[in-house]
């Protein structure tokens, strides 16, 4: 299963970013192999359409689940069309590692 988590930093111990489109980084995790990859979000300073740009990144990276604080209307319609599951992390989640653990324990809420 490929997860993409919005992150404020470039490693797994960074804080999760509550924003999806404007997130600094995305951490891509393959839950079968535990392989991680850092994706820099080129759309972070984009004037508009950052959510769609981020959704495109998720699609291009073949994500099955994306985890963030919230999803805007454009991002969510694109992710929904792509069949990607959106999940939001709760207040107890602070780092990307926490988000992965919570996901594996089935503690995250699905969005939309």
């Amino acid at each position: 299963m490929i997860l993409i988590i919005s992150s404020q930093g470039a490693d797994i111990n960074s804080l999760v970013d509550p924003r999806f489109g404007r997130s600094q980084f995305f951490i891509k995790v393959d839950t079968d192999t535990n392989h991680c990859e850092v994706i820099t979000n080129s759309g972070v300073n984009q004037r508009g359409g950052a959510g769609i740009g981020a959704a495109q990144i998720a699609v291009d990276n073949k994500a099955e689940v994306v985890i963030s604080g919230n999803f805007g209307p454009n991002a969510s319609s694109a992710l929904k069309a792509a069949g990607i599951t959106m999940m939001t992390f709760g207040q107890e989640t602070s780092t990307v590692q926490d988000a992965i653990d919570h996901y594996k324990q089935g503690k995250l809420n699905s969005f939309g």
Binding site: Q46, G48, G49, I52, Q56, V59, A78, A81, G83
Partner: protein, 294 residues
Amino acid sequence: MENAKVLCITVASGKGGTGKTTVATSLALSLASQENVLFLDCDVEAPYGHLFLKPQVEVEKKAVILIPHIDMEKCILCGKCVEVCQFHALAEIGKSIMVFPQLCHGCGSCAWHCSSKAIKEIHNPIGILEAGLTQEGIRFAHGVLTISEPLTTPIIRQLKKWQNAETVSVIIRDAPPGASCSVVETLRGADFALLITEPTPFGLHDLKQVIGILQDMKIPGGVIVNRDGIGDSQVDQFLLQNHIPIMMRIPYSTKIASAISSGNTLLDVSSSYGLEFQALFQRIKKCVMEKEAC
């Protein structure tokens, strides 16, 4: 479109609520007996000039931008359109290209780059343009942006081009507040900018931004201080130091506020305003003809 003799004045301010529409409509009415006036309300997000000029709307037209329509039969999913779109209005999702009309600026890059000719540009309505005559013979036109549509400049651009200005001698454009693209579009092509401010720190702060735009665009301008008597003397000092003229002062008065809130103009408050605005117009004309900064 615009003939050589036409004089185009844009009324702008920076800060909102300083009296742009009050001045623009009062100026138009003051000139109506001597000039052929075309009044363009370019504040397309909140066009209220018609409340004061009371035109009889005779014609209307849809304001549109061109957005891509993808023919999926021809599309080879090369992703070029997604790549070239600077506004992320397109996304390649699965086996289709999704279009997000509200993010599209209508630039046409996607269609231009499509090698399989799968993109047709179609009209996407974003608002309407309306025009008519007022009782005084002023030609009036305004743009009304549909609520939730984010793009103001295309509708302002279409409004500016819409009315035939051949028989017109003066165009008065009422600008939106602020100092962003929509104000720049309303200023573009104007011979003179009449800037309305109030003598407060907020009024001055935003006035400076619009003066910066005028300097970049090389458009001469002058200032009207409205609600004169409130605030402080910083606006006066700034304009004095920068050699920008104060062309008129309108006092802070309950009488004016009550007239405006009943749909009247400054001319209804005092007939002397008619003469004052005519004199102001002559001064603007002289300044434009002599190509001097006022």
